[in-house]
Amino acid sequence: MPKSTELIKKQQQWENSTLKKVLDRNPERKAEFTTGSWLPAERVALPRITTDEEYLNKLGFPGEYPFTRGVQATMYRGRFWTMRQYAGFGTAEESNSRYKYLLSQGQTGLSIAFDLPTQIGYDSDDARSLGEVGKVGVAIDTLKDMEILFDGIPLDKVSTSMTINAPAAILLAMYLAVAEKQGVSKGQLNGTIQNDILKEYIARGTYIFPPKPSLRLITNIFEYCSREVPKWNTISISGYHIREAGSTAIQEVAFTLADGIAYVQAALNAGLDLDSFADRLSFFFNAHNDLLEEVAKFRAARRMWAKIMKEKFGATNPKTMMLRFHTQTAGSTLTAQQPDNNIVRVTIQTLAAVFGGTQSLHTNSRDEALALPSEESVRIALRTQQIVAYESGVTNTVDPLAGSYYVEDLTDKIEAGVWQYLEQIEKLGGMVAAIETGFIQKEIQEAAYRYQQEIENGQRIVVGVNQFVIPEEPPSHLLKVDAELQRIQIAKLAKVKSERNQEAVKQKLAAIRQAALSPDQNLMPPILDAVREYATLGEICNVLRDVFGEYQESIVL
């Protein structure tokens, strides 16, 4: 969008007089200034928007298309974002007490971390689970573990986010079964499953099945929840892990929106009506260090999704055009060196998320480059959000950085870069094809390599790592998961297996196989039947592996 010609003239005059004099005396610190993701940073930004019409097209009002300024009319004047710390480790009992602690400290939503065997559909007694049980999250083998996990936590009172992808249908079914036992109806349940398989192939790695059956599972969940669990967020389309893998801000938005387009397309192809599922789609982004670039990123993503839904998919309901998102601060920016400095990094990233209009936020703990966070570190991370919410004053007005010449300029630049990628991906035959050929992974790796090289050669300063280094003692008070845990969990699993109705389990697993073999059938009801009988996660996944096959990574280096 052009600045006014009068202003351009004045700018040139300024450059030739005031600026020139200063530069002649004192050159700038660097020949070239860029954002954290290498977008050119203007020395002095000027207004891009010069008419009311442009303002209404590009920004509009909060709660209205194109939602650049936010998805709600009052944003944090109405209600703060949901403070949601991702947590889980060890057994269901240990995680249950951490959740109760977090709720008692003023956290407003739960976010469940599962261990890797659970995320990849292996039981705790599987050989491939060796050493991994309970390490990065809680181990769930059967409904029994899920009952313990939510013991004493009324599911009609909390909203629960579950970071689960390939086996999302199974964990959701277990959650529904726990609700049943608590006497809570499905219609009362609030929460989110991540359920975003495409970014697993790209960046996160907990895939099981190939893309086609995976997309079927996802659309089955969309369809089932639209009927049965209407308030549930059926997917959290995630750029977070793409960014953690080293992408730029533009790539993060581009690949996330491209994933979103692929999911919408898959659901439409399966015969679903757009308005029946699209308002339950949610997103998940990273809040990185470059504060203003990140704010621009969130705003650009919101504006673009609204456009895509309206113009590409013909959405008419404003709710289906809204990009609602969760944010997590950037784990990859945390340093093992001088770990208390991470509190400051997280504060900056928190501000980015809040200026960007997030709906919920996880703040990372200072010790995450060293181990799973300790209770004290998690509390500081939560307090960081509370200080920004209650003390900083930035929540008193909606979209406070709108109209910053620089932020609006970056918002436009990010949008332009993202459109370019979206066109390129479409030319490659869509996102699934772009992933299968390794194009997406290659793009991210190039950015990650460049970033790390800049740290290596000192072009990019990381305080405490390549500058301002001090000799340090090894840190103490780190959380350690008991090595005995796997044995305990395996014993629990054996007990559940010995006490259940074996015949019923066999029948329910056979019903899942039948449903899997019939592409028109929804897999959710038979999966729910099976978990009620305490069929294990691994048993159910093995049936599906048998029918669907397994995904093979395409290694790009």
Partner: protein
């Protein structure tokens, strides 16, 4: 003339955090070594087998899930069982200082934690060159 050293970068266990492994693999390749990268979610058995088949001098293991105490020693043990104890195993990832003595004792030659520069890894490889180029 120096022999071109061969290095296998491998991801044992189930975690998908491969940014570090891929960076190290590519940076070592750029530094002139022959580098093979396994991809994620490899069993210790598969890693040991690849190491032997590819006749590598070093195996670099990367793990961020916390399963290193179980999986790193297992790779060393399998290499020994297959008469390949001349292959030097090193590791990296989120590994607490307190686990390092145990891992060293189990035959992991070096552990590189977050923030390590690639120069430090190259220095380690070069210091061990005499041990592998015989």
């Amino acid at each position: 003339m120096n022999k071109k050293l061969r290095i296998l970068i491998a991801k044992p266990g189930l975690d998908g955090h491969d940014r570090g492994a891929k960076y190290v693999a590519r940076a070592l390749k750029d530094a002139g070594y022959e580098v093979i990268y396994t991809g994620i979610r490899q069993s210790p058995e598969a890693i040991a087998q690849t190491a032997i088949q590819e006749d590598v001098d070093f195996v670099g293991l990367s793990l961020l899930s916390g399963a290193h105490n179980e999986l790193f020693p297992r790779v060393v043990q399998l290499l020994r069982e297959k008469q390949a104890s001349d292959i030097i195993v090193f590791g990296g990832g989120v590994i607490p200082e307190s686990d390092m003595p145990f891992l060293k004792e189990q035959g992991i030659a070096a552990i590189f934690t977050p923030g390590t520069s690639i120069a430090a890894i190259i220095e380690f490889i070069e210091a061990n060159r005499p041990r592998v180029s015989h």
